[in-house]
Structure formats: C-alpha cells, structure tokens
C-alpha cells in the first residue's frame, strides 16, 4: 500500500522512533513482534470476539435523513459513539491489552487528556486483571472529574501530572518517563496514532476496523463501498486513521481531517497543528508540531480536551504533505453550533471532538448525489457540562 509505513517506521518523511536508548529494548521488542502477534489466528479470534461481544461491534452506519435534507446531500454517520465506554478508543485498548498479555507484561500505563483513553485503558485492564496506572495532567484531572471517578472505580491509579501546563502533552511525557523507569514488566498503551514506531501503525491497524465495517455497510446501503468523502476530527488522529485506513489507496474517495481551530487558526489559542505547525521531533516521532522558532513546543488550545495536542500522527502529516487528505479546521464556536444541529436534527448528542467533523459540513460543496460519511467518534455524555455552560439550557 502506498500510504503504509515503511520498515523504518516512516510515512514519507514523517515518523520513525526517536527514542532515548533507555526505551530501545521495549520498542525493539514491539517492532519485531507486533505484526506476528496481531496477525496470528488466536489473536485475531480473541480480538474479533471481544469487538463483537464486548465493544458491541459492528457499530451502525446510520443514514442521517434530516441532516442530509438540511445540507441537500447524503450524510451517513459511523456510530463509534455507541461502542462500550462511548468512543472509538476501546478498539485500540482491546487490541493493545491482548498484545501486552502475549508479551508477558503485567503492568499497564497510559496517558489521557479528556479521560476517554484513560477510561478505555482502565476498562480493558479490569477485563484482564492487570495493574493500570493512568497519567493525566493535573488541570485535566480537575476539568474531567467524572472520567477520573470512572477510572478509579475501574481499579486504575490516576496520577495527576504537575509539570508543564498540566495537560495531555505533560501526561504523555510522564508516561514515557514511567516506561523508561520500568523497562521490563510494563506495556505503554498509547492512545493515538502518535509516538515512536510501531505505535502509529499498530494503533491505526486496531482502529482500521472502522473503515473495514464501513465498506461493507456502505455497499449494503448504497450499492458501493466507496463514498464520495469521509470526514473525521483529528487531534493525534486515531479515529481518522481508522476511518481512512481501507480507503487510503482508493484516491476517488476524498479524505477530510478536521483539526481544532480553537479560537481561530490566526490566534495563539488553537490546536490546528497541520495548519500552523512545522516539522519537528516530539514524543519520539518526527511529525508536524506547534512550536516556536527555538524548537520549544507551544501549548495548544481547544474547547475539546481530546484534540488539545501540539503534535499529530505521522500518517496524517504525510497525508497532508502528499495532498492525499485535505485538512480543515473548525473553531469552538462552529463546533458548538454543529453539535446542537446534530442533536436537534437527529437526536444524537456528539462528543465535542466529533462535532469538529460535523462543523466541516458547512465548509464543503456537496452535491445532492454525494455520499458523505462522518466518523462520529464519541458520545457527548462527557461534554454535557460544557454544552450546558455555553447554551445555558
């Protein structure tokens, strides 16, 4: 495949494993074993079974009739919000916990921003009876209290991170330090298509179930497995990677990633990494970053904690650079409007992250016969306080 990672872990000029030597043994073991493990029949069998019976897959592909009418086109929603724990995040954590078991790891660590990946990790650790430590920026611990409580009830230890700006980037730094300090018994479940090779490829493979199902469902519902375009929000980019995966080589399908513009891409308060960033190395990957001229990473901002990351998966940096995918950005304001529109047209309250993909519908020229698929990556349950504060319901 043209957009596959190469043997050195690169997508075009992006990716690699820019790890300190202290992480070499763990990363090397993963790099050599991940494909053999995840392609083995017994892994596949257990993964597929859990996807079906535990996660609740396949997730429906829903034709959003009233939203389609509103935009004068055909809009389908891939309902990842209906998965167990309310987002696409569980697809990856189920895959990685099965992998960790086969690597003989006894202790699981993870980073989390909004808490969705933390909850998905704590969930699979409970499922497998493994010790779970979740690093979370101290500010996010305050902002996302309900998810912190869920993780604790699931038996995870939540460690507030007080360094830097106390958000996702700092939580990731701390998880990497933990892995350096515990090089033998620990697996780090990274939550997105970021970090050193083979994580971006591995996480994309686990999330690729989204586009695999989409093909079959579209074929049944529209007579063709190829839509006109697919839209997905992008922070690190795991749900977008999953939604794009099986369409990457089918260039007739337009792929659109939507970044968080925050208060606007021309302000300092944004998380639109591709649109305002430049190439650099962070979290062991060469990718596009938000940084100053001295190479110091700058703080991102978005209303959605899940997109609040100053980097992006190397696959997306490559899709951007090569022009295979188009990347737009939606502001907080546009996102909130899009969330209400979906809620009141279809009776579905989307996650703030997913509402970025919905907001992009306003910016596109769509024909009446077009088939547009939106990856509805998560449920808005976790965002009710933000919605209530904004609209004052």
């Amino acid at each position: 495949m043209k957009y596959d990672v190469n043997e050195k872990g690169y997508y075009g000029e992006f990716g690699g494993a820019w790890i300190p030597e202290m992480m070499y043994t763990n990363i090397n073991e993963l790099r050599h074993r991940y494909l053999e493990i995840i392609e083995s029949p017994d892994f596949k069998k257990e993964f597929d079974q859990l996807m079906k019976d535990y996660v609740g897959r396949p997730s429906p592909l829903y034709f959003a009739g009233r939203l389609s009418e509103h935009y004068g086109t055909n809009i389908y929603l891939k309902r990842e919000d209906l998965n167990h724990t309310g987002s696409h995040k569980l697809n990856n954590t189920v895959g990685q916990i099965l992998l960790a078991g086969r690597l003989g790891k006894k202790r699981i660590i993870a980073e989390t921003g909004a808490g969705q990946h933390g909850v998905a990790t704590a969930t699979v650790c409970a499922l497998k009876g493994l010790k779970c430590i979740v690093y979370m920026g101290a500010l996010d611990v305050q902002r996302q209290a309900p998810n912190v409580k869920k993780m604790k009830m699931l038996g995870a230890e939540v460690v507030p991170v007080h360094s830097g700006n106390k958000t996702l980037k700092d939580a990731t730094n701390e998880a990497m330090r933990d892995w350096i300090n515990n090089p033998e018994d620990t697996h780090y479940i990274i939550g997105s298509v970021v970090g050193p090779h083979p994580f971006p490829d591995m996480v994309a493979r686990f999330q690729s179930v989204i586009s695999l199902e989409m093909k079959k469902q579209l074929s049944e519902q529209t007579g063709s497995e190829f839509p006109s375009r697919i839209l997905a929000c992008v922070g690190g980019g795991s749900n977008a990677a999953g939604a794009f995966y099986h369409y990457l080589d089918h260039e007739q399908v337009e792929l659109i990633g939507v970044e968080a513009a925050g208060k606007g891409v021309d302000t300092n308060e944004t998380a639109a990494t591709l649109l305002v960033g430049s190439p650099g190395v962070l979290h062991a990957s060469r990718t596009m970053l938000m940084q100053n001229k001295d190479g110091q990473i700058t703080e991102p901002y978005s209303i959605s904690a899940g997109l609040d990351y100053p980097g992006i998966g190397p696959l997306h940096a490559h899709l951007f650079k090569s022009g295979r995918a188009k990347f737009l950005a939606a502001t907080d304001e546009e996102v909130l409007k899009a969330a209400v529109l979906l809620t009141q047209k279809e009776g579905i309250i989307p996650a703030l992250e997913s509402a970025h993909a919905l907001a992009a519908l306003e910016k596109l020229e769509m024909k009446p016969d077009d088939v547009n698929v939106i990856n509805l990556s998560g449920s808005g349950n976790k965002d009710m306080e933000t919605y209530l504060n904004y609209f004052g319901y």
């Binding site: 690699g16 030597e21 360094s163 300090n181 001295d294």
Partner: protein, 260 residues
C-alpha cells in the same frame, strides 16, 4: 586541534568528574560563571544543558531547571552567544546536552559548525537514535571534529553495545540503571552485574557512568567500574536555596571528591 575529550581520556586520569547543569538556571546569565567555577574547582568535563519544553528522559529536578531556564529566556541562539569567548578562559572539554528538536530547528549542520567555532567538543542528544545519527547527521559531526556521545543502559543487548562502541568517539555514557535522571539512588541500587559485564567487554571507548550519581559514595562506586562519573540533578539541587554559585560550587565539588 585534537578533540579535548580525547585529550582528557588519553591522560592517566582516574575518577573523572563530569558535571551537568542547565544553561539559564538559576539565572539567565549564570552560564559562563558556572562553567568557570566548575573548571576552577577541579571538574574534568562539563555538560551544558540546552533546556527543552518536554524533557522526557529527565526527572523532576532537571524538568524544573529547564522550565525555569526557558522562562528566563534561554535559547540555543543565546547560549552560543554567551559561550562565544569561553575558550579564552576555560580549557577542559565542554559538551552540549539536550533534546533533538531545538537542534533540528537551529539546523543540524549549522549547529555543528557553531559548536566547533565556539570550542564545544561533544554533544549528547538522548533522543537522537544511533540509526538516525549514522544515516543523516554523522558527516556534520565529523566535519566539525564534534563527538556525538551515545548512551547504553542495563537493558542494551551486547550486540548493540558493540554497534554503539563502533559509532562512538570520546566516551560512552553508561546509564547506571533503568531510569530517568536524578532518581536518587544508593550504591546498593546499582547493578554490579551490569557494571562488571560492560567492563569485561573490552570496548574501545572509555565509559563514564551517569544517572543517579549524587554523592561521594555513588561517585566512588561508579569510578570503580569506569573512568569516571557524571553528576547532574544533585548539582542542580544544590542551587535550590538560590545561593550564589560562588558559595555553593567549591563545597559541592569537594564533598563529591572526598568524604567529609
């Protein structure tokens, strides 16, 4: 001119003491003063830290010093201009240590050239892996007689240690045990087995042991298995009551070298 790191290791000197500090900490313009004081007080080699916003291989002490240094306004550009005349007063080897991204943004070729002009002898970039260095950057280092110092850990496989030894010039930075910097260790925490195993490999490069070396006992123990040791976090912590470097440095070095 011969690289000063090689000059140092070609002497018979034992118990080599290398000290790390973060440029721009505790105050922006302390850099040159600290280097001079360390050299005057018998330190053999100095590692000057380039602060980075996301120091993933560092513990809390160096995280905090980096954060403060950046707040003070430190940058690679400024560091080079502070060091412009350093070779008029300091003769011991000087190494820059930091993360890859600030160097990448400065431009690796330009960085290496500037190091050479300034009189820097070596560079330690923990997140620049051996393979990327060999393929993309080695020529810039070689052209400027600048040594890239590589790390090994207790988990590094023997075969890879050989590769690292092959690619190294100057010395090998031996990480004492699996950890980020500054994880306050005692002598009994060190893996004697690892130290001995490496000693028996007859590597072509000398080694310095770092990470968790904090006092006379840990320094002395590390020196039994290598040419010397590196102290970072413990030195930075000695500034924490914001005393003048003149007051703290002589006593600190004396304590490391000799038991009270």
């Amino acid at each position: 001119m011969k690289n000063r790191i090689n000059q140092l290791f070609e002497t018979n000197k034992k118990d080599i003491l290398s000290v790390y500090f973060t440029a721009g900490f505790p105050r922006l313009n302390d850099t040159v003063k600290i280097i001079k004081l360390l050299a005057q007080n018998g330190v053999d080699l100095i590692e000057i830290g380039i602060p980075f916003s996301d120091p993933t291989a560092d513990g809390p002490t160096i995280q905090r010093s980096s954060e403060l240094a950046l707040k003070n306004g430190m940058s690679l550009q400024l560091l080079f201009s502070q060091l412009e005349e350093i070779r008029q007063s300091v003769q011991i080897p000087l190494i820059l240590m930091g993360y890859f991204n600030p160097v990448m943004q400065y431009g690796v070729a330009e960085f290496c050239k500037r190091c050479s002009e300034t009189g820097i002898d070596g560079v330690i970039l923990p997140d620049l892996p051996l393979e990327e260095y060999n393929e993309q950057y080695k020529m810039h280092f070689r052209e400027n007689n600048l040594h890239n110092i590589l790390l090994i850990t207790p988990q590094t496989p023997a075969e890879r240690i050989r590769e690292i030894d092959e690619a190294s010039e100057g010395f090998i930075y031996m990480v004492s045990s699996a950890s980020v910097t500054g994880a306050g260790k005692k002598v009994e925490d060190f893996h004697q087995e690892y130290f001995e195993r490496i000693q028996q490999m007859n590597l072509k490069n000398p080694r310095l042991i770092g990470f968790g070396i904090s006092d006379h006992d840990t320094f002395e123990n590390a020196c039994k298995y290598s040419r010397g040791a590196i102290i970072g976090s413990a030195f930075i912590s000695s500034f924490q009551d914001h005393e003048e470097p003149e007051k703290t440095i002589p006593g600190f070095i004396k304590k490391i070298r000799k038991k009270n």
